[in-house]
Symmetry: C2
Subunit: 425 residues, 2 copies
Amino acid sequence: MENPENPKQVGRRSFLKGGLMGGVALAGAATAGKAMAAGDPLITEVQDWNRYLGDGVDANPYGTPSQFEAHVVRKNVPWLTSDAISSINFTPLHALDGIITPNGLCFERHHGGVAVIEPTAHRLMINGLVDKPLVFTMDDLKRFPRENKVYFLECAANSGMEWRGAQLNGCQFTHGMLHCVMYTGVPLRTILAEAGVKTEGRWLLAEGADASAMTRSIPMEKALDDCLVAFGMNGEALRAEQGYPLRLVVPGWEGNMWVKWLRRLEVGDKPWQQREETSKYTDLLPDGKSRRFTWAMDVKSVITNPSPQAPIKHGKGPLVLSGLAWSGQGTIKRVDVTLDGGRNWHTARLDGPSLPKALHRFYYEFDWDGSELFLQSRAIDEQGFIQPTKDQLRSVRGSNSIYHNNGIQTWYVNKDGGIENVEIS
Amino acid sequence: MENPENPKQVGRRSFLKGGLMGGVALAGAATAGKAMAAGDPLITEVQDWNRYLGDGVDANPYGTPSQFEAHVVRKNVPWLTSDAISSINFTPLHALDGIITPNGLCFERHHGGVAVIEPTAHRLMINGLVDKPLVFTMDDLKRFPRENKVYFLECAANSGMEWRGAQLNGCQFTHGMLHCVMYTGVPLRTILAEAGVKTEGRWLLAEGADASAMTRSIPMEKALDDCLVAFGMNGEALRAEQGYPLRLVVPGWEGNMWVKWLRRLEVGDKPWQQREETSKYTDLLPDGKSRRFTWAMDVKSVITNPSPQAPIKHGKGPLVLSGLAWSGQGTIKRVDVTLDGGRNWHTARLDGPSLPKALHRFYYEFDWDGSELFLQSRAIDEQGFIQPTKDQLRSVRGSNSIYHNNGIQTWYVNKDGGIENVEIS
């Protein structure tokens, strides 16, 4: 954070370690404030930002983050994919709080790059086993009653590297194929009703307009339940990399099914067995067979702070541990946290709105005594599903899988507050 | 929306009016889709975005909106203020949906420009009638238990021009000093408890570190209730123009009290009577006296679509009317909508989470017959407060006020779908 090129910046160490503020710890374990020091120039002297007028309102009609937050960005892992087009970048979970992900930090996963589609040139077709094949413009779609719902989106491959042991050092990389926004869109069942699904129509094919022409089969039961044909996220239009102008929202189910740049919905009587639901997005079991149609994202959680990219810098004393929990089955009922690798569990505090199939924020505040820690969190959803350990998962599914790893994550904290991704048995 | 310089763009009129899609209106009043036409090249031909790979994930680590949404920006009204530093820009409410405002579109109001403060150089002091004066660094504050809450923020001067009649043509300008985000911060009562408020401490002065050194008096009752010392909005750090790295959140109360770049909290035994609570942010009554301490933002609503900046372009038939409602007293219980200037009222559909002191989204779907409309919305909050007409407000407060105009807004819709801000009696 320290920028030697900025002469206005006051070195932080000189204050906290040099004793200018006196370093007088006040009584009480929860105390984090310092007694006022007469000589602190940040208190006694008028600072530049108080002395001179700042910039006005005109410079930046669409605002961007503070210059001091330039490190809070999506990041990719170059060796993870062979090129940048069919690739991934990750949400910086360690730098975020609450349950809403800003649109500019929502992870991206593309199979053919970002399609750039002028919205008046976009069409959504519905065909197949319907009474009336239809074509909708974006303007057409915006004439149907719409809904606003907060949902998490998790890539099926999130935490996928961890099947073979602790590998990536930071929750941005182990768990950052995850975001949560408020979507605005038309219920899919409204569109289907408009076309009229024939009695034998039991499956839906969703197809994207991008260069990968992403295609996934969705059972009619889900399509008629809570799916949305969405054009908005967090109040504004979808971002290009999230499928502008139109994407499918399939709440609680794996991200790959949330087809971006949605251009076609075909009603059929059986699944299509497309590439992305046969050779990909299936889990290879030890006996050589694959699990098929593993759609729902199971109950899961991760501690986002402290974590490898956000080590403990303040030493002993009061510490805010925080993290995220979610379940494709509904709301989160409880999150437990352990500091000693599972010997003792503590109930975390859930904070903020508890919405089905949305992220939940949890906190556990404690006094760190400076000793080594093995941090874990374990979520339990409203259906009673409990997040398993990685070993429990492997005992059932082996370690050939890429997808659907909802195992408990362990962070090792050393005595200096440095943190690593580890596995313990 | 049509861009003649983009050769890839297919003219929209040629399809909708030229009949290539057949223009076959299907049965049923709610039908907005068109029957499929064999000759539509947008359906039958492979488009560029489907033929060629798009950009990969690396180009833009902090994402920005689609190039086709460049018109969705905050805007100022140059003649409204004498310069751009002590000025305002407005949230484009007509282009948004749901209840979350993206951080880049949250309106700005500055009294001394945007302070640029390196977070490690920021301090929050608490002094006055406390047992222990304290100074906190940002790192200190982040060691206290925190909360995440969705709140609207409305400038007291929002709709202020309307006291003297319909003047600004668009809800961005009449109602756009309004946004709603999820804040992350430490309850103010936690900070006050840390310092220990003396028995005679009944008021709190909040002071900003910017060039205007914004200062406001807040009664202790409110300070101990639901105020936050906030460092996050919509998951990430506060934006610079919203007070980075620290602002006060005063839920339901006028935006001016939400002191940005918060550097000092002083506990006292009476209000300070600062400029911004005496000559400003008071309402001048017809008898020459001013209303004092008008903190809460009263129940209010506005139709955001259709509205002057978002006219009806699709002609007769199904129309989605949408808007926002909010109250500083809590949640919204009901919103009524009229199409004929108040002769007949219809209950609107509230959609999305209903959170206290947060925006609420409402919809009213109807079939437009192409006739003139006088659109109004009227909100009722959980305390039973009903949004008044502008005339009702003026009968009590005259028309010298600038602040706290929560009167019912009227949009006149002509037969072509064009819309104007009007007043009717």
